[in-house]
């Protein structure tokens, strides 16, 4: 009896579900629409793509996944890829696809985007940026007392007073940037020195920010938008943590981007180009600024209030696509005990 009930439940599940799949978002659909593989979260990207659909009438099919997983999938698909456009969380993934020669030329006007935020060969372009910053507890420190360089964190003054999120991807790309900029030896020394100087480790950027806000540590290294998000949520005045941008060319001021590329084999090149153009247009750039608190990358769209313009946060001079040597960074973090 019970056996039969189980079989009945399974069959019901299959038939009901099958019917639903048949009438839902067209899972077996053809290639009429433009297909975007997005490594950025749907909650962020869906409204943006909806805006694009409304404006142009071009239907966009969206496949969401992790940036790295989707990059591996595109490489595995080769010429058979279903992706017309790849929207990546970071420049490293785009650089890897470019090296594997699966990206086509954008042929979209990207002159308004600074050169350091796009591929030299024109295969991808950054559409929004995030800066590494230092947050401090305004109850114990004035802005001028806060260091201008991450290298100052090894000084005895800061012993046990600062926090990081070492397993976070953004911290790891900052370390990669430091390696590219200052070399392996100096980076390894810095990693060992901050540990000797009593660095406190946290799970993620938000936890670092919270720790500074409640006074557990005086300084913390995070991405800028976490502070702006929290400031909007709770009100700027309710926060004890304040934000400071590090000095120019300091590895701690790295600006990384999320970017897009058009796949080489796409048969919807025109529509794909329209999407890239749209992501660089004022409405999309304003969306990044106001909704996700990222940096707009196109000249002419001013950053959110309280953010210094990108020209002032010039950050270290490195090719973002060179941040694809994370494996060496992980080995380095492993060696120095920060995992």
């Amino acid at each position: 009896m019970r056996r039969r009930r189980l079989v009945a439940v399974l069959l019901a599940a299959v038939s009901v579900g099958g019917a639903a799949a048949g009438c839902s978002a067209n899972p077996f659909g053809g290639s009429a629409a433009l297909t975007v593989y997005s490594g950025r979260n749907p909650n962020l990207v869906d409204p943006l793509l909806d805006m694009f659909e409304k404006e142009t009438g071009i239907e966009v099919k969206r496949r969401y996944g992790g940036t790295a997983e989707l990059a591996a999938q595109i490489l595995e698909e080769g010429a058979k890829t279903r992706a017309d456009v790849f929207f990546a969380q970071d420049a490293g993934a785009l650089g890897a696809l470019q090296k594997a020669d699966v990206l086509g030329p954008l042929e979209v006007g990207t002159d308004s985007v600074p050169a350091r935020f796009k591929a030299p060969d024109g295969t991808w372009v950054g559409v929004s940026g995030r800066a590494r910053v230092i947050v401090y507890d305004e109850r114990t420190l004035t802005e001028s007392a806060v260091p201008d360089s991450v290298f100052a964190l090894t000084e005895p003054t800061w012993k046990g007073r600062f926090g990081i999120a070492p397993t976070n991807a953004s911290f790891q790309s900052f370390v990669t940037g430091m390696r590219v900029l200052t070399g392996e030896a100096r980076t390894e020394k810095w990693l060992r020195d901050i540990q000797a100087n009593g660095v406190k480790e946290y799970d993620n950027n938000i936890a670092v920010l919270e720790a500074v806000d409640r006074g557990e540590v005086d300084l913390g290294l995070i991405n800028h938008y976490y502070w702006f998000e929290t400031a909007k949520e709770r009100g700027k005045d309710a926060l004890n943590a304040q934000v400071k941008f590090l000095g120019n060319n300091d590895p701690g001021a790295l600006v990384n981007v999320a970017g897009v590329a058009i796949l080489k084999g796409t048969d919807r090149r025109k529509d794909a180009q329209k999407l890239v153009e749209y992501l660089l247009s004022t409405p999309a750039q304003t969306y990044f600024r106001d909704v996700t608190f990222e940096y707009p990358l196109v000249g002419g769209v001013t950053p959110a209030t309280g953010l210094p313009p990108l020209t002032e946060v010039s950050g270290p001079q490195i090719e973002l696509a060179d941040l694809d040597t994370l494996e060496d960074t992980l080995a380095l973090l492993d060696r120095s005990g920060l995992t």
């Binding site: 019970r2 189980l6 079989v7 599940a13 299959v14 839902s24 790295a68 997983e69 999938q73 994370l326």
Partner: protein, 498 residues
Amino acid sequence: MLVIPALLVAVGALLPVAYLGVRATERGFDTVAEVLFRERTAALLGRSTALAVSVTVASIVIGVGLAWLTVRCRLPGGGVWAVVAALPLAIPTYVAGFAYISRFPSLAGFRGAWLVLTLYSYPYVYLPVAGALRGLDPAMEEASRSLGVGAWRTFTGVTLRQLRPAIAAGGLLVSLYVFSDFGAVSLMRFDAFTRVIYQSYQSSFDRTPAAILGALLVVVTVLIVVAEGRSRGRVRYSRTGKGTARRPAAVDLGRWRWPATLTVTGIAALTLGVPGVTLGIWLQRGISTGQSFADTGEAALGSLTAAGLGAVVTVAAAVPVALLAARYRSPLANAVERASYAGHALPGLVIALSLVFFATRYVDVLYQRLPLLVIAYFVLFLPLAVGAVHAAAVQAPPVLDDVARSLGSSPWRVLRTVTAPLTAPGVAAGAALVFLTCMKELPATLLLRPTGFDTLAVRVWEETGAGEYAAAAPPAALLVLVAAIPTWLLTRHGRDLT
């Protein structure tokens, strides 16, 4: 009659291994040697093995203990405990791991990974052992006791020995699960195989080192499966006497009754209480911010479709393999059964990429369509079904088949009228187990689902990825509730045997 379908199934199960062979060697054997003989690789192997062994041992202790307490003893609450003990299976490790790490951050590392994996994979031991205990003929134990052997020695010398195949089969699934799990080790930041394989994709976008580590994982799997096969030996476990087995009398624990109840309750508090509280907090926050269950409906139907089809296809594929292994102990039958385990320790991401590779090259028409996702579930979870069907098949005396044959029935008729009814409970159990495991699956689902096709697991991933825990609550709660149904059915099936 069984050989050809069984061979086809084995070939399907070996697809990921072929893919790993291609990717691992594409840059020559120097790279293979370089990755394999890195210091980090040896450390990784040691860490993962230590985790697998300690989780397996702990799971056997908890699984066998709970099975004995819930099947053989009188506990206040009665049959409820049999269901409660199996329910952790309904909770994905990425939900449970999150609950633990956010409440107890100091658990990060080996301890946390060990705790979460043990708490959520011991049911793989509990279920077959509870089933076997119910089907066990008490005559042997009674004979032992009547000959003056004490209760404890009877338990270790007679009962446990008869439970050995069930314990070994469950332990095998636990150890392979530990190698393949990503949720617990990544949340606990413990560098086991899956986490390092993921990092390899994430950090260098290079598929070769990841494939080499995957291939190493396959070798480890083969060693574990062969070792389990050895431990099974050539003993027979079906009844040989006349008549049917009686139900054993329930043990009265006397003054141990309350400590035993406390233990069972404590384990339930750890497995169900901790994630329950976290989900409750999410839900509460969700309701107060106006989240509703309404938009999870489509994702729920997606989950039911994919998991339902996955269960049906996987069990259908498992039947010939399990029957072949149970009835004919030939080297070929053994090899086919072991091949079915090939992909079981591999992370879902590797299985998914291997199917992307084969589908886009040879059967492009299936790519990003539901059948390919179902095939991925079949490759990932075949051993769960094979194990369940096999366990039922070996408890049915093979002599019944022989008698039917000798009386002139055709092989097909024997299969239909004798073997099938005897193994049906195993088929149902395998289907339920595969169904609920498919419900929880995430990495392969993300890569292989049709574009726009959502499941509950995908929704949980999307919302937690954006930090929207309130919005993640409805799909997460629904996922656990729906997965609890087959889990509950699993605890019932053992009774059909008696």
